[in-house]
Symmetry: C2
Subunit: 189 residues, 2 copies
């Protein structure tokens, strides 16, 4: 099984920072569900977890997915194929448990951040080294103003921020996930 097929995206809505640096729970954004599902499908991932402790929000996500697997499925097959990858979970811990159950092994937890931190791993290094064993991997992204330190600092791998040629890196999380997957699993035909 390829690394991509063993890799999952987890989009956390808690614990993340708000603009003032306080730990909050953000609301699920409809386009995060769609865009990241489409990117996850393009790069051949094992799944995409929308993670929120708010049960009503998890139900909302499940309804979006069910909607596109129902009557509109025929009209937009690619969207249905993407949304098939979407799962919901109340926490990162529950996400890890589910992935462990799928694969019979705990996933490597790789967290992302927009700010520079110590002891980070480059995307190139992750691409080159992580296919070696058969463990699954979960790439953790934060909504709002990013993952709380309590998640980022405890991850086994902490990835470098995504940089262009400037010092500005306020990408949307949708864009950041797309770039991350391309850096890890992209190819030129």
């Amino acid at each position: 099984m390829s690394l991509a097929a063993r890799t999952y995206v987890a989009l956390l809505h808690h614990p993340v920072y708000n603009r003032e640096g306080r730990v909050v729970t953000t609301a699920v954004t409809n386009l995060d569900v769609h865009d990241i599902a489409r990117s996850s499908r393009t790069y051949g991932l094992g799944g995409y977890f929308v993670v929120t402790p708010v049960q009503l929000q998890r139900e909302l996500v499940s309804e979006i997915v069910a909607h596109w697997q129902g009557s509109r499925a025929q009209a937009d097959q690619p969207r249905r194929q993407a949304l098939e990858l979407v799962e919901v979970a109340p926490s990162l811990e529950a996400t890890i448990e589910q992935i462990s159950a799928n694969h019979g092994a705990d996933p490597l937890v790789a967290a992302t951040a927009a700010r520079q931190a110590a002891d980070t791993t480059s995307w190139r290094r992750l691409r080159e080294t992580c296919g070696a064993d058969q463990r699954p991997m979960v790439l953790v992204f934060g909504t709002g103003w990013g993952l709380a330190d309590q998640v980022f600092d405890r991850a086994q791998i902490r990835l470098e921020p995504i940089w262009g040629p400037t010092d500005y890196n306020h990408l949307s999380v949708r864009s950041a996930v797309a770039i991350a997957l391309d850096r890890l699993f992209g190819r030129e035909k």
Copy 2:
């Protein structure tokens, strides 16, 4: 001046295909304005043109930009810096004229598509070769189901589709722009 600083994104809402393959004009999506502006700023571009023949839609985009340059600017400086890059134009031809006026030279027109075509240029080749002269460049993306052939076929450069390890490449245009800019201008610190 670096290639990134001479490069522009043009997001076309006409002429593009709809699901049935007819040439249509799509509506401007608010998040396309924000996400692609943030990606354009991250990768140091010269500007981002939202292109639509519908005057009311161009006014809408101008209002979004003005809103974020007004009272909310202090609260979200990064978003203001991103939206400063946004311009509107009624057509690709008008976009090219504006870029020519900015730089005193016609831009190289590089069009993107999700489907495979003949005589395409790889992203790597564009990255390696296009910094050589001092011409500006415009990367053209289509909304809806992609750029109409009349635009794609006439472009000086036609780029390869963005591929992951699968044959599925139904990325959102927001994701496709982010990946394209990272392939051309990304770096690892």
